[in-house]
Amino acid sequence: MKKYLIPITLLALFLAQGCTPDRYAIERTYWRINQQTKSILDNPNGTPPVEVTRVVELLRNFSGSHPGSKLSLKAEFDIANLYLATKEYALAREQLTSIRDRFKEHEGICAEARFLTGISYQREGKLSESAQEFTRLITDYPESYRAFVLPHYFVQYYVARGMDIEASQALKNAITYYAGIAEKHPETKMGLTADLFIAKCHSEMKDWQAAADEFARIFETYRSSGFNLEGVLFNEALIYLKELKDVNKAREILAILVETYPESRYIKTAFKYTSLLEQKEKDRP
């Protein structure tokens, strides 16, 4: 009996695992391919094309073997991202079109594919085609998350490249867009998110006074709607403290935060900042 003990245990373990690939096994296979994808994305210029082709093949096989899995869609997007990173823009667009064709019913997926198509044109230097893609993204999929964050993306894009005139134009467009959404959905989560994006755009432009004013307006508008606005107050206080150097105003806002949200996760930091400010005031000659 003793000599059969190990084979029996191994057989029992094998049977316990099951023979068909379960969700966990699929995740493990995807993780292994994803590690190889990541290593290419980390160094796209130094990767030989044969390696890219090999990983793309792996991703295609994975996607084909598990069509019902969410990871299969991720693998499809990974292929497009690999092509984008290795500057194979035409192949990337082909892949993205194929995703759009297959998932016509899913607005979010199509919007993401359309966004990446716009990015591929942008990286290739074809700015008019890129603008066309982004416009189609907003008109075809207006309710998608990608359409929602696109104006903010433009502000980020121009600020990062130091294109000030285009950035301020993008900011104006973004504010109009988000203000429109906030007006359409007053005192809802959608409206609040849109208003927060306005403050984000101002911060992106380093217009700190406008950002702080926007946070103050958000707090006043939504305080009666039952939303948790502790982050809004905390960010406003941080802007006054670090960017505008208005210590009194920062302390005033932190006091409101402590009073309105005594259980807030920011309380500890708020108290730390307040005591730091008091200490600074004491040390002042």
């Binding site: 373990l13 316990a16 695992q17 099951g18 966990y24 493990r28 993780w31």
Partner: protein, 272 residues
């Protein structure tokens, strides 16, 4: 080193004293297998709901599941060491100290009769270790937060692990003789603990070396087991499983038997 040589010789003379530790290692391995297979069918029907409820559904996915494997295995090992490991130590001491060689069953029974005392002592040790571990964490974190160690902040976790490890060695040194005393002298919890502390005080550095040297073999493994996210990112997720298996092999099959035999020798032959 002399005491280790004698300890190994005494285990060789009474191989039965090693079997309880093999049983503990098998139990630990069984628990490890259960934890590893928890998110997969057919075990997931039984084990996935509690994992999801207590730790969150993200730990049922690959590779995040391996972070939980390291933690749950640590917990399983802790409880097994209190309720099974301590009994295994007691049985092993009984085997080592029994004069008649063919009295195996008698040795198990004599350890079983003292089961509640052994577990009580083990619980006391675990509680003291827990309190000192919390104190070490509090001390290290406060020192780090004071800004004194600001520049070496990344070292806080390794320093914390090392501090805990040193505390563990010292506490174990003080309480290592308790179970052998219970079996050999048939004493109660308090008396055995007091006697153990007295024995340690008499030969403090020798006892710390006796406990510390085998435990330092375990240190890199414990260090790795405490950082599963690092293993997953820098090696591969299944390496967490290999670290846990290494822990079983070293702690249950090397460190525990050697320390038990050495402590038993010290209790039975105080002049050693």
């Amino acid at each position: 080193m002399d005491v280790f040589e004698k300890a190994i010789r005494s285990i060789k003379e009474r191989p039965a004293s090693y079997y309880p530790f093999i049983c503990v290692a098998c139990l630990e391995f069984l628990f490890l297998v259960l934890i590893v297979l928890a998110p997969r069918p057919p075990l997931n029907r039984l084990l996935a709901p509690p994992i999801s409820a207590f730790y969150g559904p993200q730990y049922l996915h690959y590779p995040a599941h391996y972070i939980l494997v390291a933690y749950l295995f640590f917990m399983a090992q802790l409880w097994l060491s209190i309720f099974v490991g301590s009994f295994a130590t007691g049985t092993s001491v009984a085997f080592l100290t029994h004069t008649r060689k063919k009295a195996d069953f008698e040795a198990v029974v004599s350890a079983l009769k003292k089961y509640s005392t052994i577990v009580g002592t083990s619980l006391c040790t675990a509680m003291v270790l827990f309190i000192f571990s919390k104190l070490a964490a509090w001390f290290t974190m406060n020192l780090a937060a004071s800004g004194y160690w600001m520049q070496i902040r990344t070292w806080v976790i390794p320093i914390l692990i090392l501090t805990r490890f040193i505390f563990t060695i010292i506490i174990h040194a003080y309480l290592v003789f308790a179970i052998p005393v219970i079996i050999v002298e048939r004493s109660g919890i308090i008396k055995s603990l007091r006697r153990s502390i007295r024995l340690c005080r008499q030969h403090f550095s020798a006892t710390v070396a006796m406990v510390g040297m085998p435990m330092f073999v375990l240190f890199p493994i414990v260090m790795l087991q405490n950082r599963p996210a690092y293993i997953i990112d820098h090696i591969f997720p299944e390496a967490v499983l290999l670290v846990c298996i290494a822990n079983i092999l070293v702690s249950s099959l090397v460190v525990a038997p050697v320390i038990t035999a050495a402590a038993t020798l010290r209790v039975t032959e105080p002049k050693l």
